[in-house]
């Protein structure tokens, strides 16, 4: 089966209906032991130093993994994707544009999904049949999420891993389903976490590899991973169009805010960590979240893959300590 890579979550059901192997370039990049070298490789090729580390990593991973094509999300994700797509084209990689409509209207979503279905020569029945078959996996992901914030049996890092992996189901939905069942069975036997501090993590997944472990070593646990949860498609929906319309991530800060506010209330968090990538336009959106979210708020910034730097660690420690004192 041919691999189809993508730059952020897309209607993966279409790829599966077309019998393709979905590959989320982000997951391949960050799980790679040589992730930092991937960034350097892109810089050697000419990517400026003052561009996002993820984009550079994605570029190198796409070249290395040689997929049949890369679906590039031109609207609703990263503002650098256009140049990423163009530089991949320059290297002979086939790219397919996809866009989440700015207006967040059903008609727009429908149009984009239909275009993608047409490209892969699949019809809506095939796609819905895949959607139906994935429902079991998505339910297991919802269960893991509930076990994180309600039952306190799952760590923030585990929650992150399983939810973030659901963008491509680790390229093998059947194996992924088995892994989820095994994990849930194991986690059910645990003693619940006794957290001193409960945190929400909002923003794109971290480029730091040890954020969750460090947070937990400081006596706090992340019980809400905003964007990762969105990748798992947390809402039960009637059709594929509604699914990608309810999905908040590509529709801007205010669409996301609605979900964030609801979840932080529900999950009784003490503070919010907003992660942004260095050089990303989302650093500007930090203003919106800071103003609208009425909870202690820490903005963390990451640049390259690797462990938390000393400064971020110091800020995390001070933030968690402050929350402990407030409680």
């Amino acid at each position: 089966m041919q691999k189809i890579a993508f730059t952020t979550s897309i209607p993966v059901e279409i790829l599966l209906a077309a019998n393709k192997v979905p590959v989320d370039l982000n997951n391949i990049f960050i799980a790679d032991q040589q992730a930092a070298a991937m960034v350097e490789k892109a810089e050697e090729a000419g990517y400026p130093r003052n561009t996002c580390g993820w984009i550079k990593g994605l570029y190198s991973v796409a070249l290395e993994s040689q997929p049949e094509a890369v679906i590039a999300v031109m609207q609703g994700d990263c503002s650098n994707t256009q140049a990423l797509m163009e530089t991949l084209q320059l290297k002979g990689i086939k790219t397919i544009p996809f866009a989440f409509p700015f207006e967040r209207d059903r008609e727009g979503v429908q149009l984009q999904i239909k275009k993608l279905m047409h490209y892969f020569a699949v019809d809506i029945e095939q796609v819905h049949s895949i959607k139906q078959s994935l429902e079991e996996v998505r339910n297991l992901l919802r269960q893991i999420d509930t076990m994180t914030w309600q039952d306190n049996l799952v760590s923030g890092g585990e929650n992150h891993y399983y939810l973030v992996s659901s963008s491509d189901f680790n390229s093998d939905p059947l194996q992924f389903k088995k892994d989820l069942y095994d994990f849930i069975a194991g986690a059910k036997k645990r003693q619940p976490f006794k957290d001193e501090v409960r945190l929400a993590y909002i923003g794109v997944p971290p480029i730091f590899t040890d954020l969750y472990a460090v947070t937990e070593s400081m006596g706090a646990r992340i019980v809400f991973n905003e964007v990762q949860r969105q990748f798992s498609m947390p809402y039960v929906t009637a059709d594929i169009y509604q699914q990608y319309l309810m999905y908040t991530y590509p529709y801007g800060a205010f669409a996301r805010l609605e979900d964030i506010e609801e979840q932080i209330r529900l999950r009784r968090v003490d503070g919010v960590i907003h992660y942004t990538q260095t050089f990303c336009y989302r650093q500007i959106e930090d203003m919106i979240f800071r103003e609208k979210i009425d909870l202690p708020f820490l903005t963390l910034e990451g640049e390259g893959p690797g462990k938390l730097d000393g400064r971020s660690r110091m800020r995390m420690e001070a933030f968690i300590n402050m929350l402990k004192n407030i409680k």
Binding site: P296, R313, M314, R315, A318, N321, M322
Partner: protein, 249 residues
């Protein structure tokens, strides 16, 4: 009680007894580690006898905290150490603390003597003691001289500690005076953290850290913000004093 602030430029050690500082010492960071530190299983054993501090209960904080763990010390977060020091030294409970360290600047909103919120400068060393040192070096003046000027500043657009040098050189070529250039450097420092100061504003602003030495900067802050601005007496030792206070509690 001994408090140690492991700064990026200097290491500050303070010994306190019954609420009074009875002994203090300042060391260059690199020299200190070379001369007094013995690494044992990733912990640093300080030769206290050599330093001349008698054995006592130890509390440490500072930039080096991540990699350097002082043997026998309780390690506390920097933000908390600086806050404890500033509350102790100023006698205030509600204020904004501006701590200008060697490599970073921290703005802490203190309410009821505790940290209510904080911000730090972004990733580079601009608006820190290091920037002051670099700029003073480029101008060929001492930090004391740099800290005197706030009038008629030249406009420096770059806040980068490195690119700032180039800009200063071009202003020297333009014939600007040392006092104008020094004032320009001090204004640049202020502009860098001004948005954060505004964000975590209080009626009282307290300065600490080695950078609080800069009287001109303090004057600029007071003028521009309109806040009642003071600096703690022992500003450079504030973190170490905070360690003693925090540890004592």
């Amino acid at each position: 009680m001994i408090g140690i602030d492991l700064g990026s430029r200097h290491i500050k050690i303070v010994q306190m007894q019954k609420g009074n500082v009875i002994k203090k010492a300042l060391y260059d960071t690199i020299q200190f580690y070379r001369r007094y530190g013995i690494a044992r299983q990733q912990r640093l054993d300080i030769d206290w006898e050599e330093i001349g501090f008698p054995p006592d209960q130890l509390t440490a904080t500072g930039y080096g905290k991540i990699t350097v763990k002082i043997e026998g010390a309780v390690h506390i977060p920097e933000i908390q150490a600086h806050t404890a020091g500033a509350v102790f030294q100023s006698g205030l409970y509600n204020f904004t603390l501006l701590d200008i360290g060697g490599q970073d600047t921290k703005i802490i909103k203190v309410r009821g003597g505790r940290v209510a919120d904080f911000l730090t400068n972004d990733r580079c060393a601009a608006s820190s003691g290091r920037y002051m040192e670099n700029m003073a070096d480029v101008l060929g003046i001492s930090l004391t001289e740099l800290s005197l000027h706030s009038e008629d500043p030249v406009n420096l657009s770059s806040t980068c500690a490195i690119f700032g040098e180039t800009e200063i050189i071009s202003k020297i070529v333009e014939g600007k005076s040392i006092s104008q250039l020094a004032a320009g450097v001090n204004y640049t420092l202020y502009r860098r953290f001004a948005p954060q100061l505004k964000h975590l504003a209080s009626d009282k602003l307290v300065l600490s850290g080695g950078g609080a030495f800069n009287t001109a900067l303090m004057k600029i802050i007071a003028q521009q913000t309109g806040f009642d601005t003071i600096r703690v007496d022992d500003y450079q030792f504030n973190g170490a004093i905070g360690c003693c206070v925090y540890g004592g509690n």
